[in-house]
Symmetry: D2
Subunit: 327 residues, 4 copies
Amino acid sequence: MIGTTALGATLRTGATLLWKSAKAQARSYGQRGDIRGVYPPIATPFTCTEDVDFEKLVENVQKYGKMPLRGLVVQGSNGEFPYLTVEERVEVVRRVRQVLPKDKLVMAGSGCESTRATVQMTEQMARAGADAVLVVTPCFYRGRMDSRALVHHYTQVADSSPVPVVLYNVPANTGLDIPVDAVVTLSQHPNIVGLKESGGDVTRIALIVHKTRSQDFQVLAGSAGFLVAAYAVGAVGGVCALANVLGRQVCQLEELCLSGRWREARELQYRLIEPNNAVTRKFGVAALKQAMEWFGYHGGECRAPLRPLSEAEAQQLREDFSSNGWL
Amino acid sequence: MIGTTALGATLRTGATLLWKSAKAQARSYGQRGDIRGVYPPIATPFTCTEDVDFEKLVENVQKYGKMPLRGLVVQGSNGEFPYLTVEERVEVVRRVRQVLPKDKLVMAGSGCESTRATVQMTEQMARAGADAVLVVTPCFYRGRMDSRALVHHYTQVADSSPVPVVLYNVPANTGLDIPVDAVVTLSQHPNIVGLKESGGDVTRIALIVHKTRSQDFQVLAGSAGFLVAAYAVGAVGGVCALANVLGRQVCQLEELCLSGRWREARELQYRLIEPNNAVTRKFGVAALKQAMEWFGYHGGECRAPLRPLSEAEAQQLREDFSSNGWL
Amino acid sequence: MIGTTALGATLRTGATLLWKSAKAQARSYGQRGDIRGVYPPIATPFTCTEDVDFEKLVENVQKYGKMPLRGLVVQGSNGEFPYLTVEERVEVVRRVRQVLPKDKLVMAGSGCESTRATVQMTEQMARAGADAVLVVTPCFYRGRMDSRALVHHYTQVADSSPVPVVLYNVPANTGLDIPVDAVVTLSQHPNIVGLKESGGDVTRIALIVHKTRSQDFQVLAGSAGFLVAAYAVGAVGGVCALANVLGRQVCQLEELCLSGRWREARELQYRLIEPNNAVTRKFGVAALKQAMEWFGYHGGECRAPLRPLSEAEAQQLREDFSSNGWL
Amino acid sequence: MIGTTALGATLRTGATLLWKSAKAQARSYGQRGDIRGVYPPIATPFTCTEDVDFEKLVENVQKYGKMPLRGLVVQGSNGEFPYLTVEERVEVVRRVRQVLPKDKLVMAGSGCESTRATVQMTEQMARAGADAVLVVTPCFYRGRMDSRALVHHYTQVADSSPVPVVLYNVPANTGLDIPVDAVVTLSQHPNIVGLKESGGDVTRIALIVHKTRSQDFQVLAGSAGFLVAAYAVGAVGGVCALANVLGRQVCQLEELCLSGRWREARELQYRLIEPNNAVTRKFGVAALKQAMEWFGYHGGECRAPLRPLSEAEAQQLREDFSSNGWL
């Protein structure tokens, strides 16, 4: 596991760890900076007054803790992070870390629009127990977020982060792709260990794997929809919204890919695409939360301006699961 | 001017003003809810350590205070609002209100991603002295920001806002257009008084003016680049980044349009387009700040991840001003 | 009128006219290369077997001939030109020229994907009686249609064209904008006399007018939706699908702009936007043809793959006209 | 091979074959309607005067004929089909069919904008010897090319086509995606046997394979860049521009996928991505033709408005091949 003990020591002493050596040593499953595996980017349940429902959050995490997941992404896009205050974001991570078994990773979303806020949030997330941080691209001034700006941003963040940094590319939300050349440059940073790529362009994923392979750098698929294809070209895991609902199935998909049972993997993949589309691009977080309720988790409310599904949308959502044999 | 005295009373007593009547009564220049005129969306100067440089901010505001501007937009996109903390955003507005002559409006950007954060920020902005708030569309979950979600969001904000609300559509930053039907619905809210439209689609501007004319609702052009065209189809003012640099010229352009001197307006318009493009879509806030320095204002640094202009960009920027006779 | 007699001479003798001088001399209304005014881009009526219905075409043209239009655009986007054979395109132009009064211009769409086909089509259009040609940007390889390629293309076409050439930018169909610098370069060609700009970006229109004013170059708005705004920034006419249906009203709009009656122009403009949107971006050519039937013209069928309007679409179309007082 | 003899008979007798049964019977490699395998979409070499260079075309085809390709796509996007006349398109297909060994398929691009032109071109292609036709989506009126229009279009074409029809989705050129539901509907047509999908969205490819599996319907990847990923999710071949240059390597990639040697496939895939990007989305057909010259084929000129590569582009192109060990 990414070394939380070492982290505590770092924070206490203020010493600067030489992560380069940490990253440079051959990774084995469980070593710092190794992020292989499947992660649900967990939802944040809200009460009917739109407060964080920590009790329900904890119950969900306890269930996830029993699955063969590598860990959880906390405060990613599916956690509605832009709707939480700084204090809420940190508290959610703290609670998750308390409940989640120690051998599971907490990868915490710490991206903000400004570099200085991201640096601070990253430090807070580390203090709250995050094993790694997932840093979404700043995007409000997307016309100026070229390689120069993004390399500067991520370098500043990674230089000061107590824990390993994972780049996070999610153009559906940000309207922006980190240029491949920027990813390649950043892969050389000793404290940047990987990329969560949610764009779905598998050629891009393959190219990034290819051009970063001399580095210790790992690519995670950002969706269950193209997980098999991503594994086929060198991704080593996935951060999959659908794993909030069908966690065991996504883990099974990983296992099939890792063991080279591609035909079975493909068959399972097929049945996951429509449910996955439904809880992501088609209906979004509200659908994810609705489906969680159907499958024994606490989805809870969304914060406004996200709205609950309409009756017709909920029926379509149900159909996307049932027609593939999941309901 | 939008009634800050009434506002103070409201905040002290907690009473709910019936804005409907306020808005419904025929507006004359200077009445609450009348937002006609030209506004620079002021930049936020930072020191070399990226702290807000309040001293320089105040000096800029003092200069703007002497121009025939209607007021200032504070903490809009050109104020780098996504890069400021909640406290900084509020403090900037407070300082501006202190310095700016009382007959000038302070329109404060109070938009956040969540409805609850926007409601809170709006109240804080009003307490800090804002005469109106400018509320950008939430956009991270843009695939779900349909009319239903946006009408709900803005209605919640306007219901609770102590000051009039102005909608803010800026697709270059948000990747989103408020649907025309949502604008029309929202124009009927007693506390929603107008729209800043930055998208540059003048057909859309004309249609919105047309379909909201039975309401007391005003449209401001969101850029100096299409100001004459916007006036020609019924806009009543502009929030223009270029007015940070060429404030008197933008005011002159307004005057030419208002007095029906369209030929002269057109000639002036032509010379403002390239400088305007340069400080907005082409090079962004860094260019705006650089040009401010050339014209006697304090631009200061940008916060990261925004980068200063390269040498070549600065030369092109200069050329965009000089080839049009401004440098 | 653009000199068809001179054209005939040119074609007979093969001599190269020095268009430079023709274009350089001060234009007055009616001189070669002066394209000011309003043009409907006429629809091509098809029979129920999808053949060109020349009889109905001729009847429409006879009606348009009695209106204060400057001329007709024949085989533009609304003429379904990509659905006609080379022979049909030419024959339609020939028939229109026969019927249309001599003082009205025929501007014929002659754009094809390849330069050589466009050169040939241009010559055929001139022989068929076109007074000018309207040349849409080639677009299938849009990723490579940069300024270099487009300047080369249009220069080749204009060099060999017996009649003046008008550039045609219509990004909704082509997914492409001719870069402003390419327009400026091309405006210097003696045989390129103007631009039909359908993109609706009025800042772009103003900038093009500004940067080509030392040339004899005219800009036409490509839609009735932004006609007033375009006139306000220096356009000199419009090619307006809506003029197929409400021809007199679009001419009246032109007259109001030319005579400086901007307030009345604006009021009329408002009422034309929704009908215009309906017959263009919202429902397309099938709606244009349906509306033509309602207003006493022959719309006829569309060629497949364009489909007739559904019942619901036709009702919405009707509503867009009736709610603005036209039906 | 798709039965050209049967086709000849059909054309002679005018009889309507019941393709349903032909398609419904289990396919084996070599049966009508089975399109599995790798195809280069061959370039059309032009002379310096931009005429089709049939001699060079034939020499290229002779070389391709000796490779383990399934066949050739003739008059696809890389064949510059929009730049050829109807007669040229047909003649190119005729010549290719004459030269290509009988056991290789000729899949001919027969798509035009109108349905009637596509129907005619399809028939001409069949007479010229095409074994199947590849029909690109009409796209000029893309705003109206919804499922209804596309299903109508392709149904008309397939109903009358003497040879099997392959759908062709290439959003980079057309700005349009055939909706998945339209593909599913069309897959049920007895004469529609597959889809060439060039968009690169592997989730979409997997979903289409999944939802058409009860039909006799095959999906080909439209690019070498995502060939391994496409095979991983159920595609059965590829139409790959890069195969014009590195034909044996693309065939090897197919073989590695088919034999389940995914690790080796991945390694080869990596080295093909940058060369593939260079000859497609980055530099286009001119780069493909340049690279063909380097690898012993005749690329020849492009037709205008496509321009030859600049010196700098050619160097980058070379680097994209050499850095991956191909030059």
